[in-house]
Each structure stands twice: as C-alpha cells, then as structure tokens.
C-alpha cells in the first residue's frame, strides 16, 4: 500500500553543496537549507530559523553542484527519509533528511552573473538563467481536445 511523503521548501543554502562520487559512479550532493519564519511576539518581530538536511542523487546532484551555492535562494521538492548511522563512539543515531526530487533556483540574474561559478567569458547562449528549473519528468504540447 502506498502513501504520500512530500516536502516543499523555499530557503537559503547554509553552505555550498558537498559532492561525493560513490563506487558505482553515482553522484550524491548534500547541503543544509534554512527556512526562516517571522512572526510577532508581544509586538516584536521574532525570526525562527529551521535547518534542513538536503540530499540529492545522480543527475540532480550534478546540477546542484554546478548551480547552487551558499546563500542562494532555492525551491526544493522532495521526500522525508530518516536513517540511522553510528557516530565515532559507535552510538546509533538518527537523522531526518529531505531527499530532493527536483529544485528551482529563485532570485536575481545578478546573483548568477556575480557568481564565481559563472565564467566571465561565457557566451550569451550559455548564460545562467535568473531562475532555473530542473524537472526531468516534464511534459508539454498542444492538447488535442
């Protein structure tokens, strides 16, 4: 029996993506993402920040490592996964991560142009877009009815 396990986040990267290449040639990337919420408490603006562990696989990891950097604003869609691991003292611990299924960069063209990853001499064709969507399963065309 199936269910739904979906997470939608808009926030800023706390660090550059950390990329690893596994034995089978599979790429994995991960980074922390902050989502902040501002609310009034006794007439004062309080900001509460939540940190999320984002994990991306294969093609998505490759694209993330190219385009995402510390500080960037990003929309992420994925699913929750809690896994256990042993720390250095061999104590079993749990982490909950968001396994990304697609992401979209939000923000300014200028952010990308200033970016250290965008070579200064790139052709206008190759310009990184203001906002950039990755969504492999996309479908379009004219509807016939």
């Amino acid at each position: 029996m199936s269910g739904i396990n979906k997470v939608i986040l808009v926030g800023h990267l706390g660090k550059d993506p950390e990329v690893r290449h596994l034995d089978g040639g599979v790429t994995v990337a991960s980074f922390p993402l902050a989502t902040s919420e501002t609310y009034n408490k006794d007439g004062k603006r309080v900001e509460q920040t939540e940190w999320h562990n984002i994990v991306l696989w294969r093609g998505l990891a490759e694209v993330a490592s190219k385009y995402l950097q510390k500080g960037k604003l990003v929309y992420i869609e994925g699913k929750l996964r809690t896994r256990s691991f042993e720390d250095k003292e061999k104590v079993k611990k749990y982490v909950t991560e968001i396994v990304a299924e697609n992401f979209t960069m939000l923000g300014r063209k200028s952010d990308f142009e200033q970016s250290p990853i965008a070579p200064a001499n790139q052709s206008s064709e190759a310009k990184i877009e203001d906002e950039f969507t990755i969504d492999p399963s996309d479908e379009s065309g004219d509807l016939p009815f």
Copy 2:
C-alpha cells in the same frame, strides 16, 4: 525565469478516463475529478464540490486508463494549464486543466478486486495493489554519509 506551478488533489473520478491516441502515437487520457469540502454553516453540514479537468500524457495516460475508474479515490499531483479552443459556433473559449505529473490510488483492495478491469483469473503476483504509486523519477538507496 522560472516559477512554481503545482497542484495537489485528492478526490473521486466523476467518469472513467477517456483515452485518445494521437497521430504521433502519443496517448492522452482525461477525466473529471471531484474534490469535496464539508463545512458547518449555521449548524448544518454543507458540502461543496469542486470539479477539475485532469489530463494525463503518454505513460501516465496508459497507466491511468488501466487502473483508474469512475468513483475511485485518487491523489493527483500536476500543474495548471489554461488553453483556448473554439467551440462548435467558432467562439473562442478557455479551459483550465490539471496536467498530471504523477498519481497514487487511495482506497481499498476490495475496490480493485470487484473491478471489471481486474480479470478474475490473474495470478496473485499480478494482483492490482490497494494503492499504487506512479512516480518515474523516484530514487532510493543507502546514503553513504
């Protein structure tokens, strides 16, 4: 510049999916979906139903035509698309549709067993699941960190 255009629905099919095969061999399916909302008005339970035009393409259309039928409860994720067309009197009109990107059947095994589309003599291996997820871009495996 990109954005986000996402729809999430849980509701019942108003009709069996209508399937069409286009010239290029592409399959398209469509059906109406009802999402009902119940609320209290002056102490009485009022039900308000919203009807949605669901459209599915290619592989998703094929699976929908096999497993979905009038009355079934389904979770649908997709995007909004408004398109124009001419009616019989050549008047330009607009419709807003939900182009499905994946779906999950919700409900009971018994619903599927009673189903006219489930042949009585199928092996237990091929039994249609109580709930059934279609999500091509899915990714899993053990995380290496």
Copy 3:
C-alpha cells in the same frame, strides 16, 4: 466526504492587485500571476508562461493590497475554484481561479525599500520585511465578479 484541493505557486504579479469593497464591508483583491517554465527544445531555451487568476478575501486582501505590486515575486498557497458568470452578451462563461489561503513575499529587501508604497519616513520598526508571510484562517464566500 472531503478531499484535498491545494495549489502552490511561485511567480510574479502581472498587475497591481485590484481591490474591491463589497456591500457587507468585505474586501476582495485579485491579480494575475505568471509562473514561467524554461525548458530545452532542440537545443534552444524556450520559456512558457502560465497565467493564473488569484483572488484574496478579507484580511488577506487587505495585506495583499498593501504589500504586493506588479512585478513582485510571491509564493501563494490556495485552492482551485471554477465559477460561471455572464459576459456582456449574456453568454455563460467559466473561469478557474486560485483562492489564496496564504502568501509569502519572496525577493529582496531593496525591492521593498524602493517601493512607492513604503513611505520614506517610516520608522525602522515598521520596515517592510525582505520576505513576509501571511497566514490567516481560510476564507470563503460568493465571488462578486
């Protein structure tokens, strides 16, 4: 029986919100929102823009009229509603709208500081936030247009 009818959009306002005050003192605001999607077609970047009719009620309409303007980037959560109306020629037509349930402004603090709606002499206490979330309780009723 209930269902789920949820829409999530991130896009730019096509116009300033249009605000109306109904007879009962209820405020309604509406504006078009564009969500753009960029994809590759035969090696070329193609941008496809979808336009959505956003409707906001009461408190949410008030806040929208204060903070949202043409061109701003906004996250909107709401539900789909299709309603019929008669055009000038008394022909029955249908529109599908997104009735907003909450929204969050995305973008730059500088956008807000430059804003014509932000008086230059406001105290720092009242400064409009870089991004700003509104999340009141849901609202419904008959749409007056």
Copy 4:
C-alpha cells in the same frame, strides 16, 4: 526574511494519538505515521515504509484525539521542526517532527462506525463523517517532550 517549510503526508497511524495536557492548559497530541512506497526491484514488488513523528497542538490535538486512531488513513499538512532533547543518560539528541497545521481523514464510513470511540447509541446526526477536515490557524510553541 521568510521561507516555506511545508510537508504533505498521506499515511496510516502506527498508534493511537498520545495526548498530554500542559501546565498552561494547552493540549498536545502526537503519534507515528507510516507512509509506504511500493516499487519494482528486479521484477519484485518491494515496499519501503517511512515513519514520521506527528505533533498537534491545542484545538487540532483535541480533534485528533477524538477522531484519529491506530490504523486510520489520514492526510496531514504541516511543517518540519527539529528539536534537541536529553535522553536518560543526559546525552543530547535530535528528533525531527512534523508539526501538523491541518488534517483530513481519508477512508471509509464503515471504519468509523466500527470504531470503539463511536458510541453505539449516538444519533445519526452526530455520526462521525467518512472524511473530516480540520483547518484551524497555525500554532507553535515549545514542545514538552
């Protein structure tokens, strides 16, 4: 600066909700929720289940404690929150929870009629609905466990 932190789940309760009344009179409820995913691996159906810690506050906790029980299928919308606590050995640990913002029961009327919480002699007027939506305003605060 704000962001978006949203979780959407459809799954079954692993246990009855556990309800606590805090000193200030605030009610908190919590329960584990299972979301299962079925996929093909080498021609075999594999089921992977993810467990989520659901937390509900105040009015939402009250309604959950009345209507939700072990085994029920439910749609939950909420936000992620990771908090730290000390275990019995005074070791600092972290848990990630979903703080529910609203929920909808999915499933069959018969489920509710069989329910031990539905007194046999209630009038048909008071019958618990097949599916039932709760959508109060958001709630937050420090979790007491």
